[in-house]
Amino acid sequence: MSVRGVAAVVGIHEYESRFDPQASELSIEAESARRALDDAGLEKSDVDALYSHHGWNLAEYMNMFPDVIDTTQMGGGSYEFFAAHAAAAIAAGQCEVALVTYGSTGRSGGRAVERNPIRGRVPALPDGFEEPYGPTTLGRYALVARRHMHEFGTTSEQLAAISVSTRKHASTNPFAVFRDPITVDDVLNSRMVSDPLHLLDCCIVSDGGGAFIITSAARAKDLKKKPVYILGTGQAVAHPGIGNRDLTTIAAGQSHKHAFEEAGVTHKDIDLLMAYDSFTITVLTTIENLGFVKKGEGGAFVETGALDLDGKLPTNTDGGGLSSNHPGQRGIFLIFESVRQLRGEREGNQLKDPKLALAHGTGGSLSTRHSGGTIILSTEV
């Protein structure tokens, strides 16, 4: 069974604050839920399916009793998995209005990476073969960057071009944490955190979250906003396997195939790419593994300004995790910006009449275990 065109995103809300010590993760999700429902023209009582990592805690907080509940944990890519699962549940007749939420106090809660001591011993598998060696989150991605440089001659300047394009987009987003333009030299001169990744190759840490509503295509027609249809979905995980995995091949290389096949569209049809950008190397490998360019050609591609609004493949037009926000799991924001662009609501950085957006979420860590969720969204079926 295909989910092509069966369901649509009909309401979104991106939590505006990037630092909100008064908020809890549950309050961010519940407030965002109300505002996404407002955006759609729906009521809380219309919701019969809940997709959130807070599961029954959020159901309790919002006093809801959904018929379908899903807490799939695929890290930052979870929200593309949630969208795929919701479309399938709607297609199967299990529910009609799905609420997807995310809330994180990653910044105000002081939950920055690699600060807390690990107490006691770590589990034998798989942590026992990694944690004794000090692999930071950055380090896990830096291993991929180094290997990419070795195999393909990719340069730090090329990776930096991704940060530069993303910052250009962020300069148009009033909620973005960083909005001042930067140059390739700024990236190269920023502090080396995990060689070859500099500070400005890395996403920021913020608070935030949001919510979106998915319903059936039939019901979507009568709601407040123009529906954004789900045309294609793909899901995958990747991991070191038996100890022989090619580091520059990521889960996107698998998940995109089903998404394109289901959607019945090709790469040249895509007007907007929303690619998870925990680090610049994440964007580079995502563009290659999704098949927009051949492996090894990503560096030369991004260097030409291809990711700018007027480039060959406008990417992360909200300013991404590199400049706008990254509360820990950024996949949900890829859906928000896709919907804003396809509705024509992206004031200050609107693409001209876009028809198709591809959102690809990566969760976990590229060089070890990670997820890849691909969603193709469209203004029409």
Binding site: N116, P132, T136, L143, R146
Partner: protein
Amino acid sequence: MATEQQPYRKPLPELHPEIAPYYTGGLRAELMIKFCPNCNISFHYPRTVCPECLKSDTVWRRASGKGTVYSYTITYQNLSPGFREEVPYVLALVDLAEGVRVMTNIIDCDPKDVSVGMPVEVTWERAEELAIPKFRPQKS
């Protein structure tokens, strides 16, 4: 064998029987890797059940301890105890002669001298009752 100052502050694995020889082999200067006689393959991390045929008659084999650097990063920032005193340190993936890749640290050299493809050999860092396999440049 390098000896660490006590107490050891970096994370250590639970010494579950499924993985123990990897972290105790070094006490006898042996790097132990898992092998499936049905599939005729080595694999890592070690499992009781072969990840290919899912049979449980896998065995430990002593590896040569020689390999090459597949990728690495020089870590300049890690605030966790044990590591924050050691930055900059080299996190690496090493391809062993037996055909499997292990996460490790490259030690006993200047981090800036590490390169992809560099020949390395195993050494061990003692930590409580364990010996943590690490790698250093091969002596020519």
